[in-house]
Amino acid sequence: MAIVELKEVKKVYPLGKTEVHAVKGVSFEICKGDFISIAGPSGSGKSTILNMIGCIDVPTEGQVLINGTETGGLSDRDITDLRHEVLGFIFQSFNLIPVLNVYENVEFPLLLGKSRMTKAEKSDWIDMLIDEVGLQEWRNHKPNELSGGQRQRVAIARALVTKPEIVLADEPTANLDSVTSEAIINLMKKINRDLGTTFIFSTHDPTIVDVADHIIRLRDGLISDNYRQDDARACRE
């Protein structure tokens, strides 16, 4: 079964007296454990689609299914819980909480819901993630004391802390130089391999697109190309 499924999704934004048809009817499936790139030129609807998969925005028409659940019918409370439990977010501009230090930023999502982990397990897990993204020395620093690459590493650790099945990253490297970008993508790829987390990221950087094993290309709110490297593996489980 596909972990994410979009069925004839459309998104219309009102813009003054007119409307913007950002997504004009898009259907695709995403398999568990894939490393997916959503590519396309600026304005093609990448962010819009990621927002709808991430349940932080709702489609005007069509359905978004996460793990087979139609998200359109859920209450805000349930949607929020779904985001908390199933989804992780990495943003283009990092979006760390400025008043919290590195450790607290990573910890933050864990404090929001009920967790099966004990206190000790939690702190071990957070420390492990901070280690994994290479920030153990910056543990007690506030975001404004970190470089862009370091901030994005914190964001990655934060996105992973609730052990989500899906991590969404909207242009995670757009604010980073090419060397740092590559490092960040490699880190995401490593986690994808190690933990089996499904990564969905958008980008218009061709070098990064190539790392993905499933590429969905968009143009003008429609899919222009949907390519999976290893088609045989298609959502078998």
């Binding site: 927002n51 991430g54 932080i56 925005d57 709702v58 805000d76 409370r77 929020t80 819980d81 985001r83 908390h84 439990e85 992780g88 977010f89 943003f91 501009s93 979006n95 760390l96 909480i97 400025p98 008043v99 919290l100 933050f108 999502p109 404090l111 929001l112 819901g113 934060r158 609730t162």
Partner: protein, 445 residues
Amino acid sequence: MAAIIGIKMRDVKIAFRNLTRQKKRTILLAAAIAFGIYIITMINGFTGSFIENVSENFSNLLAGHIFIEGVEKSESGRTLSLVRNDDILMDAIEDNEVPWKYITKRSDMNATLIFEGETAQQTVTGADWDQEEYFKERIILTQGTFEDLQAERQGIIISEKVAEKINVEIGDRLLVKCRTYTGQQNVGEFVMTGMLVDSSLFGGSTAYANISYVNELLNLKPGEYMSMGIYLEDPDMIDETAENLYEDLKTRVSMFERNTGDDDENPIIAMLEQEDEEEWEGLRFRFMTLNDIMKEVQQIVDVLNTAALIILLVLFGIIMVGVTNTFRMVLMERTKEIGTMRAVGMQRGIVRKLFLYEAFFIAVIGVAVGLILAGITMLILMQINWGLDTPAFMLMKNGYMTFKMPVWQIFLNFGIVSILTLFAAFFPSNKAAKLQPADALRSTK
């Protein structure tokens, strides 16, 4: 405990840290609240002790909480204030178990004091000073003592001003011209045994002597006097005690009506008017209480307190506008952050809570600072001796300002401020909580 009332340390911590993000703004907002609380606390504190001080000063001046005066109509139609035989009064006091502390019996006369050609008009109050502990504690003598006065039957205590005016000193003998209670001219001689601190309201026109000699000058018999003053153990008991005693006295002797039932009319004046209007003969008693006299003072206090409340509301109306605007700004600045928190799984209610906590903390800080500053100001003001000859004397306690504010009033003000602040912050907070996370994240700030 914290978990039971739904407060999570995480939320408190974040809200508290958010306060420190824009320190200047937080300080300004808290300062505005502090200023409001400061003003209100000062007014409340002042009016709180105002009524008490005025009431105490009046009871000093008038020697009691409940007053009973005998009034006799002579054959010629003149009214004379006189209690010839107070057995009935004392019986009534005893039968009603009046919780008295002191019962004073006084005679007053208008007299002219003369010394070496200089004269001064004075009310000379005669009392049995053994029964006047309450009064003696509160009057300030600069020379001599009440013992000196009691040791000298013809002794008199005069205010500094009068002593200076007629140029007498301790031990000097001065002449007194007065009238007996029936109106005959009389003369006598006083010996100055003490001098009291000047106060235009308190002692400036009154001198104090022994009742035995004042009675002699008035041509009253020993044991007779003009007015009885009852000090109660507890001034809060005045109304209840007076009501019972008055009703009982009505069955024993002839009494003037006490309450006219007309709210606007001063009960004392109403009673005095009866004396002229009504037909009556023989002996009648006037009965009044400190509270009757204080009725008008209470009205002033009520006006002040109402004014304080209006100031509180107006001030906080203005502050609320500030709070709302500040939180609108805060909301704008943090829209993206709200989107992030919502995206990672924070429920709407908690977003709102964070803002409300923040507002509440500002209120708490503001109120605390305001109260501390008001407390310090009060302590300083309380150290200053304003003297006894200022017109504000009646409002003070022996020339010192006092402040009194019941704890519930502090909590009430705190409550009003918190609720208003939370109310002002609620709408921006609610708006923040209701944002679609994607819209919030798109914010360019």
